[in-house]
């Protein structure tokens, strides 16, 4: 456990130094997502009219921010592996005293916390601009964590594939962007039966729905525990986390078999 905390510490320092080195890009990215949400929200207001009221806007924001954290984790974890392969530092990670799985887990956690911070900054701008007030529900943190663990599982899955098939990284952006719409990030997909069926097996959808129930409609965590939806979230999260871990294990073994750890 102490070793894991140490790895988190060094990964946090590295990520922070990297963000500092790319400060202009980070600020531009942050502005893009903040303004991007405001723009999308305005468009939905134009298309849906009065039906897109403050509750619907808050529901969109909850979905958008949940997706944004997952999107950040997916892209940044894959990008960090690509950079490591390019710089030759990926092999150095495999030459350290701890398992590369532990390093990647610590890295994922660091990136996760970093993007939570950035999502909160988006919320800090959007909430007052759109005059939205979410319900105070500390229990939502549990739902949020479960939804994001599933997304981190997907990030591991992509990372594992990336170790063997280097062009996977280029598909991550497309997948992550599609996830915003296919998981009902901006608007629930209740009225689109085919997409709704698909969205149920994606990592974020159920978590977003439950978060909306708590933060928009004011449902309590106890009430959610009585729903089958919550247990479906548990199964969904566990499945993605397990598959992600197994694919990562397979990927690192296959990369060592092919001698492709340093390839990019």
């Amino acid at each position: 456990m102490i070793a894991f905390l140490r790895i988190i510490q060094v990964e946090t320092q590295r990520e922070w130094r990297r963000a500092r080195a790319y400060l202009v890009e980070v600020l531009a990215d942050q502005a893009l997502f903040t303004l991007g949400f405001l723009l999308l929200s305005g468009l939905l207001r134009v298309v849906a009219g009065e039906a897109y009221d403050s509750g619907a806007r808050l529901a969109s924001l909850v979905g958008f921010l949940t997706w944004r954290v997952a999107d950040g984790c997916l892209l940044r974890l894959t990008q960090s592996l690509t950079e490591d392969a390019q710089w030759g530092t990926l092999e150095q990670l495999w030459l350290t005293t701890v398992s590369p799985h532990v390093i990647l887990l610590a890295r994922a956690l660091t990136i996760f916390l970093y993007f939570i911070g950035r999502a909160l900054l988006i919320a800090a701008v959007v909430l007052p601009v759109l005059r939205l007030r979410p319900v105070f529900a500390p229990g939502a943190l549990l739902i949020f964590m479960l939804a994001e663990i599933g997304a981190v599982g997907v990030a591991f899955l992509i990372a594992g594939l990336h170790l063997v098939y280097k062009n996977v990284a280029s598909l991550t952006l497309a997948f992550s962007t599609a996830l915003l719409f296919l998981s009902g990030g901006l608007a629930p997909l209740d009225n689109a039966p085919i997409l709704y069926g698909l969205s149920r097996v994606l990592p974020l959808t159920i978590g977003m729905n439950l978060l909306r129930q708590m933060l928009v409609e004011g449902a309590s965590l106890a009430a959610l525990l009585g729903q089958g939806e919550f247990y479906w979230l548990l199964v969904n999260t566990a499945a993605y986390a397990l598959i992600g871990w197994l694919v990562l294990e397979w990927g690192q073994r296959a990369a060592r078999q092919h001698g492709s750890l340093a390839h990019y």
Partner: protein, 324 residues
């Protein structure tokens, strides 16, 4: 390395082979070697011979197809994490560092990943940066470093956890003469004074001849020679000697052509203002005939002498022998 036989090897490769998936022939074929404390072993071979694969298998970065690799007794397939604790590696030149981080930030990161305690890590970083003359550059981003400085910093990063075994893949590649010489001295110091076992790959034969206690020549994945540097050179020199005839200026084309036709084993090399005709194991009568030919063409003979073969000649002889 006269005492190596009395110690336990730190690295032990036993009949190790590697066939990459989809490849027709083994990249490494039945290679066995031992690396002892304080020893420098040079792994020599032309491009694609299997040097880097051998080094990466030793580090646990590439899985062997068959055979066994042990690092300080740890079997590198099943106990990789335990084994790599004792290994520091600089692979593929300068591609071992984060270019957008400073030297110190890189060292703090890699030292942290190797779980070197905080206080000790800072102490070791200061000590190693001073040893490698990098102290005053520690807060500069690595991307602003020269290639030599990046190479040295990569070596510092590999030494942070004080490993017993160092794996260096082409350590002087791309370095200028001064930087290469300083790195050579450091490598020698690490082996002789700190007892590190060093496995290095290089294309620079002079470097291997100067540093290595033993030489392992690999060609098309197979072991071609494996012995102490002095024994390899002695054996070669016992089998043949090299006669050099040094003459003033350039030889006329017609004479060069005649020499190549009459004495096909003679190699003609230009050295600035002089020309050297090198001849491996010539008969005395043939040497006299060549000297007479030069004299007939009024060529000024500066020097005639026998000399010891260089490692480069031994290496070329070994690998060309394999080709033929």
């Amino acid at each position: 390395m006269a005492e190596t036989g009395r110690k336990e090897p730190l690295v032990y490769l036993q009949e190790v082979s590697k066939i990459y998936p989809g490849a027709g022939r083994p990249a490494v074929d039945q290679v066995s070697l031992k690396l002892y404390p304080g020893e420098i072993l040079a792994l020599l071979g032309p491009n694609g011979a299997g040097k880097t694969t051998t080094v990466k298998m030793t580090a646990g970065l590439v899985l062997p197809t068959t055979g066994m690799i042990r690092v300080l007794g740890h079997e590198m397939v099943r106990e990789r994490i335990k084994g790599v604790r004792h290994i520091g590696a600089v692979l593929e030149g300068t591609r071992n560092l984060y270019w957008r981080l400073s030297a110190r930030e890189n060292l703090l990161y890699f030292g942290g990943l190797r779980l070197v305690p905080h206080r000790e890590l800072n102490y070791r970083i200061d000590k190693l940066l001073a040893l490698f003359d990098l102290s005053e550059h520690q807060d500069r981003d690595v991307r602003h470093f020269s290639r030599g400085m990046q190479q040295k910093l990569a070596l510092v990063a590999a030494l942070l956890h004080d490993p017993e075994v160092l794996l260096l893949d082409e350590p002087t590649l791309g370095l200028d003469v001064q930087a290469a010489r300083r790195l050579e001295e450091t490598i020698m110091q690490l082996a002789r004074e700190q007892g590190k076992a060093i496995l290095l790959t290089t294309h620079v034969m002079a470097l291997a001849e100067k540093l290595a206690d033993r030489i392992f020549v690999i060609y098309k994945g197979r072991q071609v020679a494996y012995d102490s540097t002095s024994t390899l050179l002695e054996q070669y020199n016992m089998e043949r000697d090299t006669t050099d005839i040094q003459v003033a200026g350039l030889l006329p084309e017609a004479l060069v052509s005649k020499i190549q036709t009459t004495f096909p084993d003679v190699t003609i090399m230009l050295n600035g203002e002089t020309t050297t005709l090198a001849w491996s194991s010539p008969e005395q009568a043939a040497v006299i005939r060549l000297l007479q030919l030069l004299d007939q063409h009024r060529v000024t003979i500066l020097n005639v002498g026998r000399r010891q073969a260089t490692l480069e000649e031994v290496f070329l002889s070994l690998t060309e022998g394999e080709v033929s």
